[in-house]
């Protein structure tokens, strides 16, 4: 917690802390406070006066079918991205953990998509699944499926999920691999001697031992799908067609930046803040891998 040997200084520590505290106050606490404050205000139709309306903005939002729709979509989107980015990552990590030739080369070739920006990943998949010029888009149409992500909501959702998951697999792969490599090999060998086959060994020994990593990744991927996929959606579908791919974070942007509904958008921001705080708290509470304070 605290070092035994420290330096003396009355002013110096404050000077050293000043830059970070300044930036934190100006760009974090002040705006976050503003968001909370704004979320209790309602602007009149002419933007002349603001009234303090207590929890009205929240009541309006939470009973708004559009907001509920966005929340349900976010849930579907988040679950799909989490599953689609974690399951293949686990499979690849289990394979890469085996003593095979070229394991390092495989690892290198599997981690680079992490570097690709979400919006660029979206552009790459759009080029592949474009209904009239994309390689796979055309192929799907030839099979007789009316593929057009610009008109069909579920297809748009599928494409957004695909583009968002693709780059996240690398991240999960690295953490699963690290988790697998930390498992003591004699435990697995002992199980093999006792006659457990590969599948049995995986489900009864490896998977339970890996659960801290899995749980940690679960939280990280939920946060990723919630917040960091804005670029993917903005580049690919802009929330469309209709509102088929409008997630909560995208709705904050649309309501605040495009529709200029400050009270409503701030109340949505506050709800998102509560979600992040809950997720972070859960992570600190249950994941031993985290730093202890």
């Amino acid at each position: 917690m605290q070092r035994r040997v420290v330096f003396d200084g009355k002013v110096l520590p404050y000077l050293l802390l000043a830059p970070q505290l300044l930036v934190t106050t100006v760009f974090f606490f002040w705006p976050a406070g503003q968001a909370v404050y704004q979320s209790f205000l309602l602007q009149d139709a002419f933007g002349l006066r603001q009234n303090f309306v207590w929890f009205d903005n929240f009541r309006v939002i939470l009973s708004d079918p559009l907001y509920r729709g966005a929340a349900a979509r976010t849930l579907v989107f988040t679950l799909s991205v989490t599953l689609l980015s974690m399951a293949p990552a686990l499979l690849l990590a289990v394979m890469a953990d085996k003593r095979i030739r070229g394991a390092t080369a495989y690892k290198t070739l599997l981690i680079w998509p992490y570097a690709v920006a979400p919006a660029v990943a979206a552009v790459l998949w759009l080029f592949i699944f474009h209904p009239s010029i994309g390689v796979l888009g055309q192929a799907v149409r030839k099979w007789g499926i009316a593929w057009d992500y610009k008109l069909n909501g579920p297809q748009a959702m599928f494409l957004v999920v695909l583009a968002a998951s693709w780059k996240q697999v690398s991240y999960n792969f690295l953490f699963f691999l690290a988790g697998l490599q930390a498992i003591q090999k004699p435990v697995i060998e002992a199980a093999a001697i006792d006659g457990a086959g590969p599948a049995r060994r995986f489900w009864s020994i490896i998977f339970p031992l890996l659960s801290p990593t899995t749980f940690f990744l679960l939280v990280v991927n939920i946060v990723y799908a919630f917040f960091e996929t804005f670029g993917t959606i903005h580049a690919l579908t802009q929330g469309g067609p209709g509102k088929a791919t409008e997630t909560l974070i995208y709705k904050v942007y649309v309501d605040g930046v495009i529709n200029l509904d400050l009270g409503g958008s701030s109340a949505q921001s506050v709800i998102l803040m509560i979600i992040v705080i809950t997720l972070t708290a859960v992570q600190f509470r249950y994941v031993e891998r985290r730093v202890h304070y």
């Binding site: 520590p13 760009f27 570097a115 920006a117 919006a119 903005h234 921001s269």
Partner: protein, 283 residues
């Protein structure tokens, strides 16, 4: 690892190879797209092998960024913007976090823990949840369309401070005592002992933060309204527009390839630092 049958030998290779190919597939199509002309792609017959328009496409994207149907800033300029943004964010975050972690760990002063928690709690406020009020602060400070506005709000971060704090706590007391006996003050100790010891942590963090800065999307989208300030990631979505079939896909794909080049190169060349940074910032 236990069985030594023939099945156990080929299965991992097959799965891993499939993974590598699926990962590489979007890049391969982008590479092909960037080496053909817009007409071929627009007709929907993209060949399976690279074409001969590569040099033309890349140089047009690099120096003009504008074709018959897409209009954007030259890629060279957008990449310079991205580069400045990523480096300022990475270096700024590291500098700010190093000194604040130093203050919290190596000094005892009133309100120390209060300040520490103040920094720590920012973990829970990602820029996405406070977009509109932060935008207002930045516009009140006249920082719209400046690199200051692009980078300053992203410079304070709890993760880097926590990482350096963890590392500083592992430095043996004997080392600090020896330095004090030899007459080193706090600044001298920081400059000549702590900084050199932190080198690997700084390198690992730089890789992660450079990627973070280069790939920023929502913030530059709000803060930059003039096209001369576009970063490459924003620029490429502007080029796509509504994603019509008849657009300069050859230029868009060349731009996508160029946009991926620096971050992917960093991961591949500095893989060791990248893995270390990733694992430690998330710990």
């Amino acid at each position: 690892m236990v069985e030594r049958t023939s099945r156990a030998a080929w299965l991992p290779h097959a799965v891993l190879l499939a993974g590598v190919l699926i990962f590489a597939f979007p890049i391969y199509t982008a590479l092909i797209g960037s080496t053909h002309d817009a007409g071929t792609i627009g007709r929907g017959d993209l060949p399976l092998t690279p074409g001969e328009f590569g040099v033309e496409n890349y140089s047009q994207a690099w120096s003009q960024g504008t074709g018959q149907r897409v209009k954007a800033s030259p890629v060279a300029q957008m990449m310079a913007n991205s580069f400045v943004m990523a480096v300022v964010i990475a270096v700024g975050k590291i500098a700010v976090s190093l000194i604040s972690a130093y203050a919290v760990v190596f000094f005892v002063f009133p309100l120390r823990m209060f300040f520490f928690w103040m920094i720590f709690i920012t973990l829970m406020l990602p820029v996405e949840v406070r977009i509109i009020p932060t935008f207002k602060v930045v516009s009140d400070l006249n920082l719209i369309n400046t690199f200051g506005g692009l980078t300053l709000p992203l410079i304070a971060s709890a993760t880097a401070t926590l990482l350096f704090r963890q590392f500083f706590l592992t430095i043996p007391d004997e080392l600090v005592e020896a330095a004090k006996i030899d007459g080193a003050g706090p600044l001298r100790f920081f400059r000549h002992i702590l900084l050199p010891l932190s080198r690997t942590n700084i390198a690992a963090l730089f890789v992660i933060l450079f990627l973070y800065g280069w790939n920023q999307y929502l913030w530059p989208l709000l803060i930059t309204t003039s096209s001369s300030m576009d970063t490459i990631v924003i620029g490429i979505t502007k080029m796509i527009g509504t994603g019509d079939a008849q657009t300069d896909w050859n230029l868009i794909m060349s731009t996508a390839m160029l946009a991926m080049l620096p971050p992917v190169a960093i991961i591949l060349l500095l893989q060791r630092w990248f893995v270390k940074g990733l694992v430690e910032t998330e710990k």
